[in-house]
């Protein structure tokens, strides 16, 4: 998937040799999805993989809006949630009427649900981009979330609507009761959706979405109505968000108003942005990382939300391109063969940076656990929150780490400049 940058510097050079690499990447992804649960077979990791898979589709669908079309939405969970609800209703109906619908097509139903809502409200929503769109999406999000508590017969109040995924027609002897079967169902849809969404970026519409993102005014003068482009993008985003919602409904066997809420919308914004919106694979990285953090951090620290905030602020300030942006920045250097000159400075900078990060963690945990709680376990070393030695250690790490890190990062920048100059000379960097 790494050969999918939007502003690819070398897409054309790759074009001929790229086809093989292109299919190779997807085959590799498919193989990885198949093998993963065989390697990590505990129930816990299966649950995690399933959630990560759903998060990937959700984040990719969000990036159709944010990264591809430049639409900042604060209500993307609406389509996700409505897709989930429709999926649950269809599952229940199929079970009670004995419709011959196998479970694996249910996510498609979710997708249709998400798309139908986008079709309905999208035209007035996408009239304008920018702040107006952001605020309308916020308003629609709040409205739908609130209405879901009023329209009880559809949304089941705040306890939601439950379903039983095993009650549908079994397919090839699979009942989808065990999590492993659900995992493979999700993995299948992750692959299909990711390929479809990647393909979408390679269509005329996908390209024009980018053009609308960069310069909606100019698009009008090359024959396109940016409003229509945004509307179509919004529908596609809704469709794939609905698929993610349908999968969630299958995974949890319940749909409730929390699906539609601001938390979900914020979560997908987080994932997508942290992963990087400029590259197709960015949201995938973001979804993996954020879901993993969400599952893991909560059992390590009670103030996970603070770490989320700090990570997010850090990304916005220092790497607005997200993780994918950081990675792709090195691509010209790799091609020019000058990455090697940068790595030593990275290694040097890593030590004080790590110390600084540890210092921050120690400080946060010290404050969080000052009034009671387990001792802090940092790299196996126990620290007691009320002990002055802990405070001193934190202070030394933070201040010392910061000062040294600043110097070492300047050296990284110098090394970078040198490497980039060479890369530019060799024609790998504009």
């Amino acid at each position: 998937m790494t050969n999918a940058p939007t502003p690819s510097l070398a897409a054309a050079k790759q074009e001929s040799s790229g086809a093989l690499g292109f299919y190779g990447v997807w085959l590799l992804a498919a193989a990885a999805l198949v093998v993963l649960p065989l390697v990590f077979s505990s129930g816990g990791s299966l649950t995690s993989f399933s959630l990560i898979g759903i998060a990937i589709i959700f984040a990719l669908s969000y990036n159709i809006l944010l990264g591809q079309t430049g639409l900042l939405s604060f209500g993307h969970a609406v389509q996700y949630g409505l897709g989930g609800f429709l999926a649950v209703h269809v599952m229940n109906a199929a079970a009670s009427h004995n419709w011959p619908i196998p479970l694996p097509v249910i996510p498609l139903v979710g997708g249709i649900g998400g798309m139908a809502f986008a079709l309905l409200v999208g035209w007035v929503m996408t009239k304008r981009a920018g702040t107006v769109f952001a605020m309308i999406s916020l308003g629609i999000g709040e409205l739908v979330a609130s209405s879901s508590l009023i329209l009880r017969s559809v949304f089941g109040g705040e306890s939601g609507i439950t379903t039983d995924r095993t009650s549908l027609m079994p397919l090839f002897g699979w009942t989808f009761g065990p999590q492993i079967q659900v995992y493979y169902l999700i993995a299948f849809w992750v692959l299909v959706s990711a390929i479809a969404m990647y393909a979408l970026t390679r269509t005329p519409l996908g390209r024009i979405c980018n053009a609308v993102r960069d310069n909606p005014e100019r698009v009008e003068f090359i024959g396109y109505d940016p409003h229509v482009v945004r509307y179509l993008a919004y529908m596609f985003a809704g469709f794939f968000a609905g698929i993610a919602g349908g999968l969630t409904a299958i995974n949890f066997e319940i749909a409730n108003s929390a699906y539609l809420g601001a938390m979900q919308s914020g979560f997908v914004l987080f994932s997508t942005f942290i992963g990087g919106t400029a590259y197709f694979f960015g949201p995938i990285l973001g979804a993996i990382l954020v879901t993993y953090l969400q599952l893991g951090l909560t059992s390590v620290t009670s103030v996970w939300q603070l770490y989320f905030g700090v990570i997010f602020i850090g990304i916005v300030m220092f790497a607005p391109g997200g993780i994918a942006g950081i990675l792709m920045k090195h691509r010209p250097l790799i091609r020019a063969g000058t990455l090697g000159t940068v790595i030593p400075s990275y290694l040097v900078a890593a030590i004080p940076t790590l110390a600084f990060a540890l210092g921050i963690i120690l400080t946060i945990e010290t404050v969080a656990r000052f009034s009671g709680g387990d001792p802090i376990n940092l790299l196996g070393i126990p620290f007691v929150a009320t002990a002055p030695t802990t405070w001193a250690a934190a202070a030394v790490l933070v201040v010392g780490g910061f000062l040294v890190a600043r110097i070492t990062w300047r050296r990284v920048a110098d090394a970078w400049d040198r490497a980039a100059t060479v890369a530019r000379d060799r024609g790998y960097l504009a």
Partner: protein, 315 residues
Amino acid sequence: MAELIVISTLNGVLFGMLLFLLSSGLTVIFSMMGVLNFAHASFYMLGAFFGYQLTRWIGFWPALVIAPLLVGVVGMGVERYGLRNTHKHGHVAELLLTFGLAFAIEEIVSMIWGKSPVDYRVPAVLDFPAFTVFSTNYPAYKIFMLVVSVVIFIALLVTLKRTRVGLIVQAALTHPSMVGHLGHNVGRVFMLVFGVGSALAGLAGVIAGPSLVTQSDMAAYLGPILFVVIVFGGLGSLPGAFIASLLIGLIQTFAVALNGSLASVFGPLDPSLGPSPLTDIWNVTIAQIAPILPYLLLVLVLIFRPMGLLGTRES
């Protein structure tokens, strides 16, 4: 009926002014910098907690002055070390920075003051009923809040329209590079404005804290409605925010006062129809949906008049 109208109007105006108190800072920041500050409600919360803490140490009145200043300093720090560096990446990045900040501030506050509500009380001087209408008391503290809101509105209006600082601020908004060339430090102007906006939020926190619940999740409850106010009134328009606050206050209050539902107007549906979305809608009262009316207004306004009531630009 007269009683209901008089009391609802009074309540609506009081609530509307509280909304304005909260959204004035947000509007100032937006009108000046074009930044939608998601952390605004967090600054408001910081104000409330600073106010609470300082009230315990040195009393309410000194706290009323010092806490907003502290919040202003925090705001200036955020502008100087955060937003300024993010500015080059565009408004979305700025907005996301404040988004992350809101998360962090909430957790920091709950780390320091805990997650339960704190006992932040109305100062004794103002803890008496100011007047009574139809045997309903109006506490002096609410009148105090109203007065502060109006004073802030007038002061801001005068500052922005009549003083040199205001002119520079207005000019920096439309022609930042020009103002820069004229020898004003646009960066410092921005920092100051962000500080003032945050301080206003802080002031709102100090004042609203005792009247509402001072708790670490108070920001999350009020955040979205503030956006409704400033978008509804017109992004960047102070009079717009003022009018929008009043309108939203009144609409919500009157909606609560009304018991009507479709069922009460057209009679109940045939019970044989069973539960369906129609019966849900049929039986829901206006009072029940009162607090979500602002969002409906927001969506409608943005669709039909994207610049809001008194706004002049869309984004």
